[in-house]
Amino acid sequence: QDKPAPFDKPGAVKIALVRYLSTGDFFQAYLSGVEAQAKALGVDLRVLDSRQDAALQADMVDQAIALGVQGIIIQHGLTESMKEAAQRAVDAGIKVVAFDVNVENPKIPQIEQSDRDLARLALEQAVKDNGESWKAGYVYVAGIAPLDRRNETWVDFKKKYAGINEAAMFGTLDNPIANSVANQARSVLSANPDIKVMFAPYDEFAKGVKIAVDEAGLSQDIKIYSADISTSDIAAMREPDSAWAATAATNPAVVGQVSVRALAQLLAGEDPGHNVIVPPTLITQKDLIDKDIKNMEDLSAKLPQFAHADVAMPAWMPNPNAK
């Protein structure tokens, strides 16, 4: 295989992944994607994990610089704290890409799983299933960047469809999230028994809502639309009479791969473009049942657009999924 420099010598390239969030399936799958692509490329990967400490994350960029890496992936974080750190890395001649955090730097490609698209896909399906007029419950916690972006779509949607009536908004990030949201959703359902649609644009929320709907015995009467997917979400959606109708998701592993590929392109002197968007996939209950999809592997196997994104994929780039 002819890889361009510096990838022609295996092990010559050292990159760092500087993480803000790490706990949970999404982040674990993202990491595995990063690792898989890094391995396929033969680069040495350092993982610096700030465990949701934004200040520490900025320091870790400096640390990565001190470690002498050639490329850095910034995974999540806050614009304000990462902007300058990212700039310092660029100044030090290091190539940087950022996933899901806007570091406001023209030299740094932004990898995105488009949260607005995620929400839009799910909501369009809701309108398709339920018509343009229904009473909704909405799960939202402000202040979390991806949820805020998904919220923008929801707000636009409510403007667009006057018949959609948000009867209740709730949500919490108390751990375990599904359990806490289930408690809240139960209360909301007893206060608003006429809710038809629950929009829970984060799978932990959806999981909690589903538990509440089941416990209230309303699984025939309510439909849940969400974002993100995991193996256990698939199981929950596949349950007989499951209220969880559809979810929109990007494959976090693919996003991880794309992040590394974009960085590799930069290192090889190519331009991945400033906005590298990984397109989301709509996954409906019907898809899962019809195609007999039981877990993430089946999903990748049977929905190819989910398994691989042809993003940042020049000809020389090894594809870790092609075995």
């Binding site: 706990t23 674990q28 359990n179 408690n183 416990e215 193996t231 877990n295 993430m296």
Partner: protein, 339 residues
């Protein structure tokens, strides 16, 4: 000593004893008026259900409070038990009984470790249980490398875990007993009530419970009265561990998977319930009845506020406010109150 004085003192005594209960009923009355659908058997059952898990944890931590200790590890014991249950059933493909036994074993072992550290190694309670807390938070994620456990998941070695949550196990989270109304009372509520009555009876009416209070109040005096103080203290941590693992079982049964979660909120809510318990009936000391009422109190508050569409942050705020006000009321009036 005028009779006026006597009457005033009696009134104050009543305020201390029943103030908190009155507050609870006041809240219920308020929500009954302000929030549609608040008053119904289902709603009542639901309140119990929503606090069942934290309530069980709170009852456990009450036992350690009674012997003058504290257990910061309960939240992580619960989540560890949840992960273990899922691991046993999904990865090891064992049945529900094995899973439950494994969870309880975790509770016992962690309790013994905590007790051993505190009693024999003389590590202060907060410190020892903080240590085991961190340990467990890490440990529970190692077997799956930080992934949640669900049927069909891919293991770190690439194999697929095909076990499922047994129906019997899920029933712990989902089955409901008939009680006048069919399918009314969920298993978790029954578990909460049974454990509450058990630990209440144990602490109030058996000689073991009485001695645990003695140990908590004056360890040396209890020892010189013939009590095996070390055994009692270890026992308290084992109770706490087992109750926390029961909480974890209920959690797993409700969620139907092993969910990556720190359990910090479980810890805080359980501690809040146990501490609110101090204020119930003017006890000014840890007590199982108070803990149960404290848990229900938090449940009523959150249920009512959610039904009134209060956003989550106002719920925290009001939870804090009511807690502080209720407690000022109780402790300031009773003039006792020390841990």
């Amino acid at each position: 000593m005028s009779s006026g004085w006597v009457r005033m003192a009696a009134a104050r005594d009543h305020a201390i004893r029943y103030g908190f209960i009155v507050l609870l009923f006041g809240l219920i009355a308020y929500f009954a008026v302000a929030a549609d659908g608040f008053v119904s058997p289902q709603s009542a059952v639901f309140i119990f259900q929503s606090v069942a898990i934290t309530g069980v944890l709170a009852l456990g931590v009450t036992a350690t409070l009674v012997v003058g200790g504290f257990d910061l590890s309960i939240g992580s014991v619960a989540t560890s038990a949840m992960m273990a249950a899922a691991y046993v059933m999904v990865v090891l493909e064992q049945n529900a009984v094995v899973a439950v036994v494994a969870c309880l074993a975790i509770g016992v072992i962690v309790g013994l470790i905590n007790g051993w550290l505190i009693v024999y190694m003389r590590v202060p309670d907060l410190l020892a249980t903080l240590g085991t807390m961190f340990l467990l938070v890490g440990l529970q994620r190692i077997p799956t490398e930080g992934r949640s456990i669900a049927t069909g998941m891919t293991m770190p070695d690439g194999s697929v875990a095909n076990g499922t949550f047994g129906a019997g196990f899920l029933a712990l989270g989902r089955h409901r007993f008939d009680f006048f109304i069919p399918n009314l009372i969920p298993v978790s509520v029954v578990v909460l009530l049974v454990l509450a009555v058990l630990i209440w009876f144990f602490l109030e009416y058996t000689r073991f419970g009485r001695m645990m209070y003695a140990v908590g109040s004056n360890e040396r005096a209890a020892e010189l009265a013939g009590a095996p103080v070390k055994a009692y203290k270890i026992w308290a941590y084992v109770i706490s561990g087992v109750f926390a693992s029961i909480g974890g079982i209920l959690l797993a049964a409700r969620l139907g998977r092993g969910d990556i979660a720190s359990g910090n909120n479980l810890l805080l809510d359980a501690v809040a319930a146990a501490l609110i318990g101090y204020a119930v009936l003017g006890a000014a000391k840890p007590n199982a009845f108070g803990t149960a009422v404290g848990a229900v109190f938090v449940g009523v508050l959150l249920q009512g506020l959610t039904m009134m569409n209060a956003p989550y942050y106002t719920q925290d705020f009001i939870k804090g406010l009511v807690l502080v006000v209720a407690l000022v009321f109780t402790f300031a009036l009773s003039g006792r109150g020390k841990r």
